[in-house]
């Protein structure tokens, strides 16, 4: 199975987006899908007042949890260990993949069946295990489709949104032994179902993500419609869950409003088909459920986002995808252009911490700052403000009050910095400003028509024939005369 052909890098964002914008089929797929999701969400929040009330609870819950993050992780760990769960910490992808490998080796497993997990995409688990001869099989229908095509997710909730049913019909008829070409969605789904059933039955290890972790009970919560998450966490003898350290809340009752916000914001459902609360491995006397359970808690740059208050809200995210559904840039360039596990506005604010600003410095610029993402975010993350702060961090050295981010100032250009410095001096000193304006207006015919990046898609800038100050002075003189 080839995955390399589709590997893209955030560094290539501009190039990839230009290609995507020029692809009418892709744009059509995204437009259709996003309109669908926008409408479904809107039906769940018919009036803004109800949404605002619930969002306030969600935001308070996440802020409260983050403000006590190390304590809650401690409490969670103690409760998980009491239940017999193996808790692992991973500083980065390499740590996390090593832990997976060790568990697989211990159980002599050459296959793992996976539920949907964006964190496993983040650490590129499938690729890492493949190099060790261990096959990871995706069981979420969307992810499965992508996997057999060697493709990657383009949306965090609906991963195969960029494919049409004709694409999938063709793919299944080519890749699933014995399958005939059909565009009937029910038939396609039942083909996927029967292939994956055998895998659920035979796998020794099941892998899942986590939507929420509850410190007071040591519970992990999974939200899904298909039932593959339940399969992965019920049938195999070993269950490995992986998630980011930020996903913890203090109390069980705290997940109730978050769950209500998540399903409504993500797919416009009041509830998902399954809300699966798992508290430890199989207990004595029980006949099913994993005998061994592991939880991997990943940092991978999250502590950097946590460090500065101005970026901390990034970690409030519950990964609903509403910000990308409503983003005019995401809808036009598609999820693959970003070259990161998390596309869209949330990707643009989290990826710089996960991967460093130097590779991802273009992502915070992928926004018109229209504010739609911030408006729909169910946990009140000020996404536009954070985008601006990242733009600033990409272009400027740290001001000393804050620690530098990884890749801080990597988009800094000497000429640009000097230009702004000159501008500042000029505009804050009237003895310089006045003669400057006089000359600029008189010599406006000298302005170059080719103005670097500006004129590639805009008309050239030119000073006005007369400065506002002059015009006002003139008008006052006229008035006096009259």
């Amino acid at each position: 199975m080839s995955v390399t052909e589709h590997i893209v890098r955030p560094e290539d964002f501009k190039l990839r987006s230009r290609e995507s914008v020029a692809d009418p089929k892709l744009r059509g797929n995204f437009r259709g899908a996003m309109d669908f999701l926008i409408d479904k969400r809107a039906a769940q929040f018919p009036d803004n007042a109800t949404f605002t009330l619930l969002r306030k609870v969600g935001e308070t819950t996440r802020k409260h949890a983050l403000s006590r993050l190390p304590d809650l992780l401690d409490q969670l760990e103690i409760n998980l260990q009491r239940l017999g769960v193996n808790v692992h910490y991973a500083e980065n992808s390499a740590d996390a993949n090593r832990i997976f490998l060790e568990i697989a080796k211990k159980h002599h497993a050459d296959m793992m069946i996976k539920g949907k997990s964006m964190v496993s995409e983040e650490i590129e688990l499938n690729q890492a295990m493949a190099t060790e001869g261990i096959e990871c099989i995706e069981s979420d229908m969307g992810e499965y489709i992508l996997q057999i095509d060697g493709d990657r997710p383009s949306h965090i909730i609906m991963p195969a949104i960029h494919k049409t049913k004709q694409d999938i019909a063709k793919l299944f008829s080519e890749k699933i032994p014995g399958a005939t070409y059909t565009e009937d969605v029910d038939e396609l789904i039942s083909m996927g179902r029967s292939v994956l059933r055998d895998k659920f039955r035979d796998a020794r290890i099941g892998v899942s993500g986590v939507n929420f972790m509850i410190a007071e009970t040591g519970t992990i919560a999974l939200v899904e419609n298909e039932g593959n998450g339940r399969m992965c966490t019920t049938i195999p003898d070993v269950h490995i869950a992986i998630t980011g350290i930020e996903k913890v809340v203090e109390k069980l009752e705290h997940v109730v409003p978050l769950y209500a916000l998540l399903t409504r914001s993500a797919t416009g459902q009041a509830v998902s088909t399954y809300f699966n609360l798992i508290t430890g491995p199989r207990r004595v006397g029980e006949k099913d459920g994993p005998r061994e359970m592991h939880l991997i808690l990943l940092d991978n740059g999250r502590t950097q986002a946590y460090r500065e208050e101005k970026f901390r809200a990034t970690l409030q995210c519950i990964r609903c995808g509403a910000c990308m559904n409503h983003c005019p840039v995401y809808t036009r360039v598609g999820g693959h252009s970003y070259g990161t596990a998390y596309p869209g506005p949330i990707g643009s604010i989290i990826s710089p911490h996960l991967l460093g600003l130097s590779g991802t410095r273009d992502l915070p610029t992928a926004s018109s700052l229209c504010g739609a993402c911030g408006e729909v975010c169910p946990v009140g993350i000020p996404i536009p403000e954070i985008l601006m702060r990242l733009r600033e961090a990409a272009r400027n050295n740290s001001d000393g009050a804050d620690q530098a981010l990884r890749g801080q100032a990597s988009a800094r250009k000497m000429l640009e910095a000097l230009t702004w410095k000159a501008w500042r001096i000029l505009y804050s000193n009237s003895f310089l400003y006045r003669p400057f304006v006089f000359i600029a207006t008189r010599l406006r015919w000298l302005t170059p028509t080719n103005q670097a990046g500006w004129t590639t898609s805009r008309t050239p800038l030119r000073p006005a024939p007369r400065a506002m100050r002059e015009l006002l002075a003139q008008r006052n003189k006229q008035r006096e005369k009259n």
Partner: protein
């Protein structure tokens, strides 16, 4: 786990905690979830009678098939479903409040989930047409079923067979998930697995087209026993 693992885990753990703890963050207030849900219009206005009607409407919207029955006749309705859907092999948990009576009503047709998953797997995956389970509570707001699997009724019983037949007493319907979580005081003793189930398994992953029976049951049949006082005559 090997010794290297222990040290790696220690290293990662202490590095992460060090980074988190060195940041002075003052604790922010906890959310008042209780106040939020108490102020919800559904909780304030609706009476318990139309609570059950609302539950039914919502559950149907997820494509849960609902069969209303009385405490005296519900087993017959199960038999009817079994016949209508021509379900051959039925699996249930032994020792629940209804299992013996139902088995008699079905002419001893029930098989029991008695063995460990590893032994029952072939039967569960390939030969079982329906799993029958109890339901702890219903949620009116969203038409959901709260299922707490036990050692009698393992969790795979409501997951693997293509049809899930669930049995719920109408008097066990609550208004919201929050009501169940808080009044039943879940946090003081969570089971290994607690589930909220709303309809049969589904997916919209192929061009946003809704399809049922993705990986879990293709059909969810709910036998709703109207033991609520006002409605004893329901469908009798």
């Amino acid at each position: 786990m090997s010794a290297t693992h222990l040290s790696d885990n220690q290293r990662a753990r202490s590095a992460i905690f060090k980074r988190l703890r060195e940041i002075p963050v003052s604790p922010l207030p906890a959310p008042d979830v209780q106040a939020y849900f108490r102020a919800q219009p559904t909780v304030l206005v609706q009476s318990s009678a139309n609570r059950i009607e609302r539950f039914i409407t919502q559950a149907k919207s997820w494509r849960t098939e609902i069969i209303e029955a009385t405490p005296g006749t519900w087993q017959e309705y199960v038999a009817e479903v079994v016949q209508k859907k021509s379900l051959q092999r039925l699996l249930a948990g032994r020792g629940t409040s209804f299992s013996e009576g139902l088995n008699r009503a079905l002419g001893n047709k029930l098989s029991w989930y008695d063995e460990d998953l590893s032994e029952i797997k072939p039967i569960l995956f390939s030969e079982t047409d329906a799993g029958i389970t109890t339901v702890r509570s219903g949620v009116a707001e969203t038409g959901s079923l709260i299922v707490w699997p036990t050692h009698n009724e393992p969790r795979s019983l409501s997951l693997v067979p293509p049809v899930h037949i669930a049995i719920l007493y109408a008097s066990d319907i609550v208004e919201t998930l929050f009501e169940a979580v808080s009044t039943q005081n879940w946090a003081s003793g969570m089971p290994t697995n607690a589930l909220l189930i709303s309809g049969p398994s589904r997916t919209s992953d192929i061009q946003r087209t809704l399809a049922y029976g993705a990986h879990g049951p293709k059909e969810l049949v709910l036998i709703l026993i109207r033991d609520d006082v006002a409605n004893t005559q329901a469908r009798a």
